[in-house]
């Protein structure tokens, strides 16, 4: 009705201005990074490797967020706690059950076994949470499952406290080799590379599952239209449950690697980590798998650069940087990096 009027044209101008501001901010960040690279390229490289390693963990957890949001539009705040429980359960298996506290071939094999066990446990846990806490609220106002998720988060945190001990931090031992690879002046810890070696196949497997399998197709269909999927014979409840299970398994893998890299477990590690991972999912475009992975790596790198690279403001500004980027994305590109690509959405 108002086509051709000034009112309709105005949003168009605003949008262009917003795009310019967004690009300017992005360009500013890029210039900042390039300047830091020029000032101290070796430090920049070392810190970036740390960022990629941490980013791998954020990516795995972000996938869980993005899948659940993509399929039932729930921000599952308890997901970070599943990551935390994954790290503690993995530590219990490695140290108390398998008695592995140093780097050796047996330890590496048992680490893989522990990863499988932990992924199964956390997948089952996440499916249980979905069944007990979220399913009945699926058609409730959006705030109800959100508050429930926060509540579940605190329940899991208390479970973590019971398992991990009352101290917030508990020292653990890693079985990953504590050696470095030297690329010229750059030393890269082998454990960081091992994290990548575990993460990348998991991400590829995830992509294959969603894109190529029948379950994946059902997940995508459910994400597109639940009612239509049900009419097509898809058991929507089961598919949603599978989605939670896969998310829980990926969070468990991230938890195991976090405990191996940091050599500690914390019962209060989940909430903040989950929040950052969710930010990664938002930056990538909530509901988009590739976006979540890219967002995870981006956040990991920004985190590390802010904390350690030259010309960046230092550790006390890490949260500010990350959430400023979140705000910038939400304001200037609310769909995230790949946000408009609906066909890839789970």
């Amino acid at each position: 009705v108002t086509a051709g009027t000034g009112e309709l044209a105005k949003p168009g101008r605003d949008l262009a201005l917003i795009d310019i501001i967004g690009l300017a901010l992005l360009g500013g960040l890029a210039v900042w990074m390039v300047a830091s690279l020029i000032v101290d390229p070796v430090l920049f490289a070392k810190v970036t490797v740390i960022g990629i390693s941490n980013g791998s963990l954020y990516a795995l957890v972000a996938l869980g967020y993005t899948m659940v949001y993509g399929i039932i539009e729930l921000i599952n705040f308890a997901h970070g706690e599943v990551f935390m429980l994954g790290s503690i359960v993995a530590a219990i298996f490695m140290e108390d059950v398998f008695n592995q506290t140093s780097s050796n071939p047996t330890g590496w094999v048992l680490l893989i076994l522990t990863m499988v066990i932990t992924m199964i446990i956390c997948a089952a846990l996440n499916m249980l949470i979905e069944r007990l806490a979220y399913r009945r609220l699926r058609n409730a106002p959006r705030l109800a499952p959100l508050i429930t998720a926060v509540g579940v988060s605190y329940v899991l945190q208390n479970v973590g406290q019971e398992l991990n001990g009352t101290g917030s931090q508990r020292s653990r031992s890693s079985v990953l080799p504590d050696t470095e690879i030297h690329l010229g002046p750059i030393d890269i810890g082998v454990k960081y590379l091992l994290v990548l070696a575990i993460t990348v196949p998991l991400l590829l497997a995830m992509t294959w599952l969603v894109q190529k399998t029948k379950v994946g197709k059902a997940m995508r269909a459910t994400a597109q239209d639940r009612d239509a999927s049900r009419l097509m014979g898809i058991n929507v409840d089961r598919i949603i449950s599978y989605t939670f299970g896969i998310g829980g398994a990926l969070a468990a893998a991230a938890g195991l690697m976090a405990f191996q890299i940091n050599e500690s477990t914390r019962y209060d590690a989940g909430f903040r980590f989950g929040l950052v991972a969710f930010t990664a999912a938002v930056i990538g475009g909530v509901g988009n798998l590739a976006g979540a992975v890219l967002g995870g790596y981006l956040i990991g790198i920004i985190y590390a650069l802010t904390e350690g690279a030259k010309l960046f403001p230092g550790p006390e500004w890490v949260q500010t940087m990350v959430f400023l980027i979140l705000i910038a994305f939400v304001t200037f590109r609310p769909g995230g990096i790949f946000g408009s690509n609906e066909t890839e959405k789970v």
């Binding site: 430090l43 020292s171 940091n262 350690g308 690279a309 890490v318």
Partner: protein, 449 residues
């Protein structure tokens, strides 16, 4: 569909920002139950406890009934400080037990308040505020012993100071932030004493001494020249790090200001990689271990090498008395300053000090962390104040600042002590300890001044 997703996106963004704010505010309202009494409770008075730094509106709190009084003990009983806090409670109760549970003509019992939350894994500002209101409202409470953390003390103190039946006395065994008793940050210490009357004392030396001692030790004993200084962003950590930096610069140590570490970070290797480019030979951690300190120690060693190598690690007493730190392989060789005398030195002082330590070990099976002895000393001082008072809160506070002392013969810290007009202890000791063989071992005393 697209519009709906965008709407969802905005909802998600708003939610995550709100959640971030909630996280940033800490778990301020997450665990009120944590503030409930957990110890040898005798008082059943409770307050609704507004979580603000003001006295409750109901100001009819009557003087404590003559004959039976309660001393509140304020400590964090969850998180990394749990062991040290439990030891402090035990030591204070043992000191009371040795005094026969009386002070003058009054029967005295204790009530323990937990000022921590599980979610925070340490002291919590909202819980401290609630506890402060509870102290004022509990009419049989006569004084507060504690708290452990300076930040918590800064919340509780103004509330107790405005107690209409007080001010209510608070004696801390562990607060080292200078601003509680003397000029430090803007407005301090006057902002903690709205009535103008002092009601706070502490029995250990302050961070201006401790931070300076750390810097002097780094240069004079270890010959260090360049120090990376980090703090945990909290009252205590920033204070002691500031004092270290000031003294270090004054005596010629180059300071690399590393800023504040984020307690919720998964690791800190990037911080130390950055510092490594400036070749420090020392790292100073101004803060408390509760704030992910062990991860910081691990990452320091991972990037800059072992503590007995080229880059030494020095920390203040915020890292003292933690069994988990003592048993951490990467903490071995780390130096810790302590604003008092450690167990081994107290045992050498024949008489009340050694007797008390031995009695504690006999009762609890192991020596306490260092601050526990000062909690026992705080109990002794409060009992003296009650004895010299008329049994009211105002009377006990006035007595505490009237020049009373605990004599060397009865002092659990081996020396006669009292409070000066600011509330600082009249004797000040400083020790340097080292982590060796999974034990925090006394290395040497450090002269103050």
């Amino acid at each position: 569909m697209r519009a709906s997703k965008r709407g969802g996106m905005k909802f998600a963004a708003v939610t995550v920002v709100l959640a971030t704010l909630a996280a940033a505010c800490g778990s301020d309202t997450e665990d009120d139950a944590a503030g409930e009494a957990t110890g040898e409770a005798t008082a059943d008075a409770t307050a609704e406890g507004s979580a603000t730094a003001e006295a409750p509106a109901d100001t009819d709190a009557a003087p404590a009934a003559e004959g039976s009084l309660v001393i509140a003990i304020e400590v964090p009983l969850q998180g990394a400080s749990k062991d040290a806090s439990e030891a402090a409670v035990n030591a204070a109760n043992l000191a009371l037990e040795q005094a026969g549970g009386v002070a003058g003509s009054y029967t005295v019992t204790t009530k323990t308040y937990d000022n921590s939350t599980a979610a925070k894994g340490g002291w919590d500002d909202a819980t401290c505020a609630k506890n402060a209101a509870d102290h004022v409202a509990a009419t049989d409470e006569i004084a507060v012993l504690g708290p452990y953390n300076s930040g918590c003390a800064k919340i509780i103190l103004p509330v107790l100071n405005q107690d209409p039946s007080g001010p209510m006395l608070m004696i801390s065994h562990a607060n080292t932030n200078p601003g509680l008793t003397k000029a430090w940050d803007p407005g301090e210490p006057e902002i903690f004493y709205p009535t103008g009357t002092r009601n706070y004392g502490r029995l250990i030396a302050t961070d201006d001494f401790q931070g300076a001692a750390g810097a002097q030790f780094a240069q004079e004993e270890l010959g260090l020249t360049t120090c990376l200084v980090l703090d945990d962003g909290q009252t205590y950590g920033v204070g002691v790090a500031t004092a270290f930096k000031a003294e270090a610069e004054a005596i010629g140590i180059t300071v690399i200001d590393g800023g504040s570490w984020d307690a919720k970070q998964p690791n800190y290797t990037a911080i130390f990689e950055n510092a490594a480019t400036e070749s420090p030979d020392c790292v100073y951690l101004g803060g408390i271990n509760d704030n992910n300190g062990e991860q910081l120690i691990r990452d320091k060693v991972a990037v800059l090498g072992a503590n007995d190598g080229a880059v030494k690690l020095i920390a203040p007493d915020g890292f003292s008395g933690y069994p988990t730190v003592q048993e951490l392989p990467d903490a071995q060789g780390m130096y810790i300053t302590f604003a008092g005398l450690p167990t081994s030195e107290l045992q050498k002082i024949e008489g009340a000090a050694a007797d008390f330590v031995n009695a504690y070990i006999e009762k609890y099976g192991e020596p306490a962390s260092f601050y526990a002895w000062y909690a026992a000393a705080a109990m002794q001082y409060i009992l003296k104040a009650i004895e010299a008072s008329d049994g009211t809160r105002a009377g006990v506070t006035a007595a505490a600042f009237s020049g009373i002392t605990v004599s060397a013969e009865e002092s659990v810290i081996g020396k006669e002590f009292g409070l000066d007009e600011n509330g600082d202890v009249t004797i000040k000791d400083m020790s340097v300890n080292i982590m060796q063989d999974n034990t925090e071992t006394y290395l040497k005393p450090w002269p103050l001044g």
